[in-house]
Symmetry: C2
Subunit: 306 residues, 2 copies
């Protein structure tokens, strides 16, 4: 398969660098969906159906408008087997509509278990001499670096073999990110992680100006974003934290390389739940309100990442 990096470049050229984060916060789902699928509010199955309907309508309306979807696994796992079934159907739909899908799972473990996460979410299960195709089959996965290099390596190897991508948490978007990430004798941890990813990606060379392996840097730390871009001029960034979390989209400007490449900018709640600010009361127009927000963000991104 063509590398993740190349597929990213194609999508950015077509639709720009906006990623829509599918974080279906249950209490923020449009009331008409909750009423339809769980009238008595007493079943995980009903809630899972509402989550599916929400994602499915959104994907239909955003198809041909946005290149990237980031799916927050927590919401689907929380709903048990019904949630995972719905995740599977949502992924099938996203692929059929041409979205590149970033699975946001922040997975991590010692190498022998990390291998299974990487195989399951990206590459395919090796058993004996057989490879069983990846059930989840994401285009990329977010991973957590707390285990260091040997915990990250299986993710790189499996992703590379299968033309998939990775985004390793470096500087997260939340207020207490500095607790661990600003520690360090010489370099701070978030910089060490970025440096490690920048080194490791060179072990997995690609025929592309951008790598399939990058880091997560929160828009809420715009000085660190600028600093990391200076240090690592061509490392891909996935940038969450714009909108509800407080990151201003204009401040991600420094992350972009020429041609609008090098950075994907994720917005979740500010798009998903735009209907709550002046849409119809029961949210029947949530997908159209989301599309309006998408276009607003894309316009801003075009102005700062031409």
């Amino acid at each position: 398969m063509e590398s993740f990096a190349k597929r990213v470049i194609d999508k950015v050229r077509q639709f720009g660098p906006l990623v829509v984060g599918l974080d279906p916060h249950f209490d923020s789902l449009p009331p008409f969906l909750l009423q339809r699928f769980m009238p008595c509010r007493t079943s995980l199955e009903g809630l899972a159906e509402a989550v599916f309907a929400f994602g499915a309508e959104l994907l239909e309306v955003l198809s041909g408008e946005v290149g990237f979807i980031k799916i927050q696994l927590a919401f689907y796992e929380a709903l048990g087997v019904p949630g995972m079934q719905v995740l599977s159907e949502t992924l099938r739909l996203a692929r059929s509509r041409g979205f590149l899908v970033i699975l946001d799972g922040k997975r991590n473990d010692i190498a022998s278990s990390a291998t299974l996460y990487a195989q399951g979410y990206l590459s395919g299960i090796k058993v004996g001499n057989t490879v069983l195709p990846s059930f989840w089959d994401g285009d990329a996965l977010t991973v957590n670096p707390y285990f260091g290099e040997d915990g990250l390596r299986p993710f790189f190897e499996e992703a590379y073999q299968s033309g998939k991508g990775l985004f390793v948490l470096a500087r997260t978007s939340n207020p207490s990110a500095p607790f661990i990430q600003d520690e360090g004798q010489n370099k701070r941890v978030f910089e060490k992680v970025a440096s490690l990813v920048d080194t490791m990606r060179k072990e997995f060379p690609e025929d592309s100006p951008i790598s399939s392996f990058g880091i997560v840097v929160g828009a809420t730390y715009s000085e660190d974003l600028r600093y990391l871009r200076e240090l690592f001029p061509s490392l891909p960034f996935l940038i969450p934290g714009v909108g509800v979390q407080g990151g201003e989209i204009e401040k991600v400007r420094s992350a972009f390389l020429p041609g609008g490449l090098g950075a994907l900018v994720n917005v979740s709640r500010d798009i998903l739940f735009a209907y709550r600010k002046g849409g119809k009361e029961k949210g029947e127009d949530f997908a159209e309100r989301a599309l309006d927000q998408v276009r607003k963000y894309q316009k801003i991104l075009r102005s700062i990442a031409p």
Copy 2:
């Protein structure tokens, strides 16, 4: 519900501190199971059935012998929806046989998503004024501290409300653990994490000599284990890394408090796949060989944690 801490104490008194880690490495499953459930080696469903049969027989044989099971989620997630279905059945079986179940997922995210992991795996989904019971309903969950305090807080709150437990990664058992975990201007990261957990647990007081909130410390770093125990005299430890990973069980002695409390010691592959060292060729006796190993480890643990 009675707190996780109290349930742990009961189990330790009955069976000692051994945790059997259910990490069903596919290539190490007994050949008779792989042949029975996936004769052509071409289906995730068949592999999931083999994984279930493996876990189910093990749980039957270890029932009344061991108090704790740690389930490595990576192996189940890797098998897609069939794997999650099998996880659900395995959990039901483990609960019905009286095991305390530690879900080993190393979950982590910003608070709004971390809440969903905590609710899904431990406490129950809040939507509107309703609480839908946790589908997975583990007794405890492992979590990764890279996001710092605000990413950990929802796990503490949800676990506390529901009488469940947490083990936060401090010093992991793998070779490259020091990359991030040994960084730090004043304290090293793994020590900062331990200190944070020790502080946070005091916000969630329990009527028990031991907390429901502890840390993960690898047996492969026995000096750090001893050091952390000196610093945090009553913090619960979950200790992986014994056996295949190279940690020696005798070296965990320093982790124990009087009465054999304060530390749970996990062994996975060295128990699960004991049949490969001198059992029947096709592994039909894998569960009995596992039980032999369990008794061997329990005997050692009784001698060092009386």
